[in-house]
């Protein structure tokens, strides 16, 4: 028996919105520690890793480990039926082929439940090694989303160059070139507006704008985004989900083609 209850449906809505553009389907692996989802996008360029800790739920019960393959589009449709303040409960029997999602209004006057068919997805799980990243940049999630959106107009690729002075996002295309520099903020009143760079050594990497823009769909989940970079290693874009867990996106860098 699996049962997980969240106080606000809006969080689950935001999570689904953050991943449904990249993934059509995903397997939620439920265990007593919480819910995890890991999946690559269709082109195998990026990887999504979602972790929702069990202690972040209002109620969490998982008698046996359970993998629930879901069509994320369908789930997003169901979640749209919930009000933001509704309590949401996910239920599934052991070895069940359906999951029940129940929405309860705050005053318990309205209860709606939806049953969704589960899928048997044969998805590969990748082992993500522990990595010491050369540069870790924390910056406002909104700012990062804005930068990605703006630079996508210039080129398909964005070069992220991290030095001790700051982080520079560059794009060059037929229109021209665009450079956006963010310096580390000295002291800010609001923590969520801070740009904090933790740099071991300078890194310059090139990434596809398209994926970065897909990652920024998670912006509503968090005020801050963390970019972790290291030479010849995928970029990690992490959005923390307050009191619940995090969503991490891994993006393979564009690499020099030695064949040409």
């Amino acid at each position: 028996m699996f049962e997980a209850r969240l106080g606000q449906a809006t969080i689950l809505k935001k999570i689904l919105d953050a991943i449904k553009d990249l993934l059509n389907e995903g397997t939620f692996d439920c265990s007593d520690s919480g819910i995890q989802l890991q999946a690559m996008d269709n082109s195998h360029v990026s990887l999504v890793s979602l972790t929702l800790r069990s202690d972040g739920f209002d109620k969490f019960r998982c008698d046996r480990n359970l993998s629930m393959g879901m069509n994320l589009g369908s789930m997003a449709k169901i979640l749209k039926c919930a009000n933001n303040e509704d309590n949401v409960t996910m239920k599934a029997q052991d070895n069940a082929d359906t999951v029940t999602i129940m929405f309860e209004s705050a005053n318990q006057e309205k209860v709606s439940d939806y049953e969704m068919k589960l899928m048997n997805l044969d998805q590969e799980h990748l082992g993500i090694p522990e990595t010491d990243y050369s540069c870790v940049v924390r910056m406002p999630a909104m700012e990062f989303a804005r930068i990605c959106r703006d630079l996508a107009q210039f080129s398909e690729s964005v070069v992220i160059c991290c030095t001790k002075e700051g982080v520079k996002f560059s794009a060059s295309g037929d229109v021209g070139t665009a450079n956006i520099k963010l310096a580390q903020t000295g002291s800010v009143d609001k923590e969520e507006e801070a740009v904090i760079i933790d740099m071991q050594e300078p890194v310059t990497l090139t990434f596809a704008c398209r994926y970065l823009n897909a990652f920024t769909k998670a912006t509503p989940l968090s005020t801050q985004v963390q970019l972790s970079m290291c030479a010849d290693v995928p970029l990690v874009v992490e959005y923390a989900i307050k009191d619940l867990g995090h969503i991490r996106y891994y993006l393979a860098p564009k690499i020099e083609d030695n064949e040409t």
Partner: protein, 412 residues
């Protein structure tokens, strides 16, 4: 009119094979009536003169020995008897009658009545009154209705006209017919709209241009008229141009058309005015005529076409080299400007420029060298012109490729 009356009045031409089915259809009679009337008529005719011999064909139907049904047409009563003997449950009916010997060849196959009627209707439209009466019987060879005869009758007219340019044939047939064609095409495709619009425009401009020389009779206007009107004409035969996709030939034919049409369209009054002007331009007409005659040309008409092309030089540079190539050595001889009237009263100007252009074409070594240098310089400039962004991006795209996440993380 009854069949009997028609037979008596010799309205049915037995020189061609007369099908009983035709008569059935024509006179709305039963087979028995037609058969009896025909037999009676044939007997009467054969009795009247020993020379009159009729050849009959019979439709024979019966079962073959292997069980299959058979329909066949046999010639003469002897063969009919043979076939009747061959077939089981055989039946026979008179199929056709014609005068024996000297008659036109028979229809190759049995044709159903309606089909024949359709063909006849088409035939009568095309051939008009000249269609032989025998055809109305529906017995005719397909070769008798060939189109070339039709075309010949049309094309024979232009050959008798004064200006017998080689390109006249398409032009002659085009204006009315092709307008009609264009109207038909308009319904079908959007392309016809695009082709029709410039033609209409050209007409307008041509009308405007044609009005000018009438009001002012200065020489300048006359000389201006040639290129402008030819420009208008150039647009006019768009239907023909559309039909000919081949560019060089199309442009060539349009060139020819321009010169012809210029003189075709001028009314007799206008021509007189123009003639006066020409004489003024040329000075003494006799001398120029002599020079015109002295020139070793294959045809004055051809020269005229070339000349009109010359006037168009600034407008049509693409069409020009091909023309001149065709003209060849004849034009190379003329080195100086010469203006004269030819036999037909057309002003011909042979320019020295004409001689220069072939030399351009042939490219003397020095000219070739300079041209090559120019081309090289142009190529260099175009290379320089290519946007640096493009070259940059060209550098970028092959250099960088998107990596795969699986190459960084191992499978569990």
């Amino acid at each position: 009119m009854s069949l009997r009356q028609a037979l008596d009045d010799c309205l049915i031409d037995f020189d061609r094979r007369v099908l009983v089915t035709d008569l059935l259809e024509e006179y709305k009679l039963t087979y028995k009536e037609v058969h009896e009337l025909l037999e009676a008529h044939i007997k009467q005719q054969e009795d009247a003169s020993a020379n009159n011999k009729y050849e009959k064909r019979f439709l024979v139907y019966g079962n073959q020995t292997d069980g299959g049904e058979l329909y066949t047409i046999v010639q003469g009563e002897d063969k009919l008897k043979e076939w009747i003997a061959k077939l089981q449950n055989s039946q026979s009916q008179l199929y056709s009658v014609e005068i024996a010997g000297g008659s036109k060849s028979a229809a190759p196959i049995f044709k159903p009545m309606q089909q024949v009627e359709v063909q006849l209707a088409k035939l009568e439209k095309r051939a008009g009154a000249t269609t032989p009466k025998g055809v109305s019987n529906g017995i005719h060879k397909p070769s008798e209705t060939t189109k070339p005869t039709n075309v010949k009758t049309e094309t024979s007219e232009p050959s008798s006209s004064k200006v017998d340019a080689p390109t006249e044939q398409p032009k002659k047939t085009s204006p009315s017919e092709q307008k009609g064609k264009a109207a038909v095409a308009k319904k079908g495709s959007i392309g016809s709209f695009f082709s029709a619009a410039p033609a209409a425009k050209a007409k307008e401009t041509k009308a405007a241009v044609a009005a000018k020389p009438a009001s002012s009779s200065s020489m300048d206007n006359f000389f201006k008229k040639q290129p402008t009107s030819s420009g208008g004409n150039q647009a006019k035969p768009t239907p023909t141009n559309n039909m000919k996709k081949d560019e060089p030939s199309a442009s060539k034919s349009s060139n020819n058309n321009t010169s012809i049409q210029l003189f075709d369209e001028a009314s007799s009054d206008e021509e007189e005015k123009l003639d006066k002007l020409r004489r003024k331009v040329v000075g003494s007409g006799d001398e120029s005529d002599e020079t015109a005659n002295a020139l070793p040309t294959s045809s004055s008409k051809r020269r005229r076409i070339v000349d009109s092309d010359d006037d168009e030089q600034p407008q049509k540079k693409s069409a020009e080299p091909q023309e001149e190539k065709l003209e060849g050595d004849v034009e190379m001889e003329a080195d100086t400007n010469e203006t004269f009237l030819d036999d037909d009263g057309f002003v011909i100007t042979v320019r020295a420029k004409k001689a220069m252009q072939p030399s351009k074409k042939k490219a003397s070594p020095t000219a070739g060298a300079t041209a090559a240098a120019k081309a090289a310089a142009a190529a260099a400039t175009t290379k320089k012109k290519s946007p640096p962004a493009a070259s940059k991006s060209a550098k970028e795209t092959p250099k960088i490729k998107q990596g795969s996440i699986t190459s960084f993380f191992a499978k569990k």
